[in-house]
């Protein structure tokens, strides 16, 4: 009896040791700090960069969990709330539809603010944005479970809470960007709008770029075909 206890303890210790080695205390602290951030946004996001409380590892984790929760939502949210046309779903495109706008926002925000005294570095903007996503998985996972116990009449509860989680994320993003760049309220909002425009410009340029590339490849390909045909 005693023997097994010791064994169990050693096993637990082994696992814990592995965890500690793999994820150091800094990682756990920074991950836990996201919970402080979402409840004390101004203070939290200030410390996130200025006191170096946030880490890339934690930011990546939050982003990964967010994407994961979005994917799980497709399968495990009740069909009363949402139906998924699986035949048309491309999982990579779906993931890209989250990551691509996020990347655009991070780059767009950094690119515009850095020209106007924004104190945030690109990495800090990324960390801040990821930390602002924290409420999404936090609220969506319980909602996902709750949705399976709802009827159409009660679906309103789900909708309200779901929207709330997004609004929370949005407010955190606004607060976070303000703190990271050390901007005041009006300037912060203005530059968030600028960021949106920057995103649009980037999308436009990307589209232009890709269509040019396609045209270019098409030109050389037809040239090659013509050449082979004549030769």
């Amino acid at each position: 009896m005693a023997n097994t206890e010791v064994k169990g303890n050693s096993a637990v210790r082994g696992i814990l040791g592995w965890f500690k080695k793999t994820f150091d205390a800094k990682y756990w602290d920074s991950l836990k700090f996201s919970l402080y951030c979402i409840t004390h946004p101004l203070d939290g996001f200030w410390d996130l960069t200025h006191e170096k409380r946030g880490t890339y590892a934690a930011a990546n984790t939050i982003l990964f969990i967010t994407v994961l929760v979005r994917l799980l939502n497709l399968k495990y949210t009740s069909f009363v709330i949402q139906t998924v046309y699986w035949e048309d779903l491309n999982i990579w495109l779906y993931i890209a539809s989250i990551l691509f706008p996020l990347a655009l926002f991070v780059i767009g925000n950094w690119a515009t603010t850095t020209l106007f005294d924004g104190k945030g570095k690109l990495g800090q903007v990324y960390i801040g944005t990821c930390y602002a996503l924290t409420p999404y998985p936090l609220m969506q996972v319980p909602l996902m479970i709750l949705s399976n116990g709802l009827t159409t009449n009660e679906a309103q509860f789900y909708t309200v809470l779901s929207v709330l989680s997004l609004v929370w994320c949005g407010l955190l993003l606004i607060a976070g960007m303000g703190q990271i760049h050390e901007f005041g309220g009006a300037k912060n909002i203005l530059f968030l709008i600028f960021s949106l425009f920057a995103m649009l410009v980037m999308v436009f340029i990307l589209m232009l770029f890709f269509s040019m590339i396609t045209q270019g490849i098409g030109y050389f390909y037809s040239l090659y075909r013509e050449f082979m045909f004549r030769a």
């Binding site: 069909f79 009363v80 139906t83 046309y85 035949e87 116990g149 009827t151 159409t152 009449n153």
Partner: protein, 550 residues
């Protein structure tokens, strides 16, 4: 309702993108990807075409020669079925030919109505377009060329006639061109007149005009309005004038409500829910047609321009069975669309062509029992459809459900499902039958398979209630846990703090190396001191209280 046009548009956008992709690749492509393959099909939850076995089969196509007519049909435009008789309004020959349903031969010529006796006006008809028969056996004929609706008895004796009403809403140069006519049990007459777009003309039984009912709304467009503010008169004249569409045909159902079909040509108005393809009018002229299906009851929900036909389905007639399934006739692509009382598609079949079961210009549809008759104006033929075994099972299931035979209905739907696993209504039908049998869990699985959230919610609500009742102990336990666990944690934390801060449980310094007896003695002393302190505190509180009272 809101998600319908959105879904419709998504589909449309998908189709446009696909078309654009095809255009870019410049691959000549003649087959429309959306075009169905089988004769009969339905739209499933996602709006995808699902091929189904034939619900209706062609019994026979009756042309003039097969019906044994001396004079061939010429441009027939009206069809009317009454009891076991079918009347074809042969517009070009100014006559009405009656046929009797015969078990062996199908339709056999019965009589010809080509004149009315003792009429004050002309005794013959001039381009009659439609007719109706009242419960008393009186015949009403829309005599379009003579600008009148004739009412006569079964022996063709003139009774009365309905003319252009005197109404301030009509301009002076309006001509009365009665096109379609129906009559209710009290012999009130409703008619569509060409060129009058204010709705149906309603006459009382004594011939007095009772007003217009059921006018379709004119599609209103804010953008058009703004544009007109800036456009020149010339430009305005060139713009298409938005007028309310006229009904193409009407049908009086067994309950006395009027089904009216609308020939929709504007796809955008359909998307914006500004027009209805088919309406069911009550006595006040309001549309009471239930439209709970996933998709609009507008016939085809997306349309390419394959085969020379473009635009949405254009209904030329509608008929309704006694089980509230109504069938619309699309003259654009020659298809028949059946919808149930909830507006969900039961079947769609047909097409343009020369084969049996295909049409060239279908103009009117009627039914005898559950048989369907379609009049083709260009072909001058009547196509007689009968239910297939598959269709019979569907109709049985619906009828049995209406009669309250839920288990039998479920069994009929099972037969349908055995023949066609893609038939959505079968799943929902089985689910509804199980729901009535209080087998909620099974019903839920069937509803979930076909995304019927309303019925699922009904079943789930009952199932949840049952579950909570049978698992009362667990439910109460869980509820208690939800409240007690946080409370307990709070309590535990407080206790820990108390322990940590209280002197009673403070252990002696291990460096003192006390014996057990000494430790006991130490704790005893600590407890003694603690009690005294507490006593002192209590006393102090008492004094303070007394002090405050004073």
């Amino acid at each position: 309702m809101m998600k319908k046009p959105l879904k419709l548009q998504i589909k449309r956008i998908g189709a446009i993108l696909a078309a654009a992709a095809i255009g870019i690749l410049s691959v000549p492509m003649y087959t429309d990807a959306m075009e169905h393959r089988s004769y009969t099909y339905i739209y499933d939850y996602w709006g995808d075409v699902q091929d189904t076995p034939d619900v209706y089969e062609v019994y026979k196509v009756f042309t003039s020669s097969e019906l044994g007519l001396d004079v061939r049909f010429n441009n027939p435009s009206g069809l009317y079925a009454h009891d076991d008789k079918v009347y074809v309004v042969d517009t070009g020959n100014n006559r009405i030919v009656a046929f009797v349903k015969d078990e062996k031969l199908g339709l056999v010529q019965d009589s010809v109505i080509d004149s009315v006796r003792f009429a004050p006006g002309p005794s013959t008809f001039s381009g009659p377009t439609d007719m109706a028969i009242s419960d008393d056996g009186n015949i009403f004929i829309a005599d379009k060329g003579n600008n009148r609706i004739i009412k006569m008895d079964a022996n063709c004796n003139y009774l009365m006639q309905f003319d252009l009403p005197v109404d301030s809403a009509l301009s002076a140069d309006t001509i009365f061109l009665p096109n379609k006519v129906v009559v209710d049990t009290a012999e009130r007459v409703y008619c569509i007149s060409d060129g009058i777009n204010k709705g149906l003309l309603k006459y009382e039984a004594d011939g007095t005009f009772a007003g217009f009912i059921g006018a379709t709304k004119a599609p209103y467009d804010l953008w058009d309005y703004i544009w007109k503010k800036f456009a020149t008169q010339e430009q305005i004249d060139r713009m298409t004038v938005a007028v309310p569409t006229e009904y193409s045909n009407i049908y009086m159902d067994y309950e006395g409500f009027i089904y009216a079909s609308v020939p929709v040509s504007d796809a955008q108005a359909l998307d914006d829910l500004k027009v209805d393809s088919v309406r069911r009018l009550n006595l006040l002229g309001n549309n009471i047609l239930v439209n709970n299906g996933e998709w609009l009851n507008c016939g085809d929900i997306y349309w390419g321009s394959a085969g020379g036909y473009s635009g949405p389905s254009c209904f030329s007639d509608v008929t309704a069975f006694e089980n509230d399934i109504y069938v619309c006739l699309d003259k654009n692509r020659g298809r028949l669309f059946g919808y149930d009382d909830q507006g969900r598609m039961v079947f769609a079949f047909g097409g343009n062509g020369n084969m049996d079961g295909y049409f060239r210009r279908p103009i009117a549809i009627e039914h005898m029992g559950y048989d369907l008759l379609v009049l083709d104006q260009a072909d001058c033929s009547i196509t007689y459809f009968v239910l297939s075994d598959f269709g019979q099972n569907i109709f049985n299931a619906i009828d049995q459900f209406d009669r309250g035979e839920y288990e039998a209905s479920g069994e009929s739907w099972e037969k349908v499902l055995a023949a066609d696993g893609n038939y959505d209504l079968a799943y929902i039908g089985i689910g509804r039958s199980l729901l009535r049998q209080k087998r909620y869990k099974e019903a839920m699985t069937y509803f979930e398979l076909k995304y019927d959230d309303d019925n699922y919610s009904k079943a789930f609500k009952e199932y949840r209630k049952e579950w909570v009742q049978s698992h009362l102990f667990i439910t109460v336990g869980i509820l208690l846990l939800i409240f007690l666990v946080p409370l307990g944690i709070e309590k535990y934390r407080n206790m820990q703090i108390e322990i940590a801060t209280s002197d009673v449980f403070r252990f002696p310094d291990p460096e003192d190396n006390m014996t057990r007896a000494e430790i006991r003695e130490y704790h005893k002393k600590q407890r003694q001191e603690f009690r005294e302190r507490e006593k002192a505190k209590k006393e102090a509180r008492k004094l303070a209280k007394m002090g405050s009272n004073r």
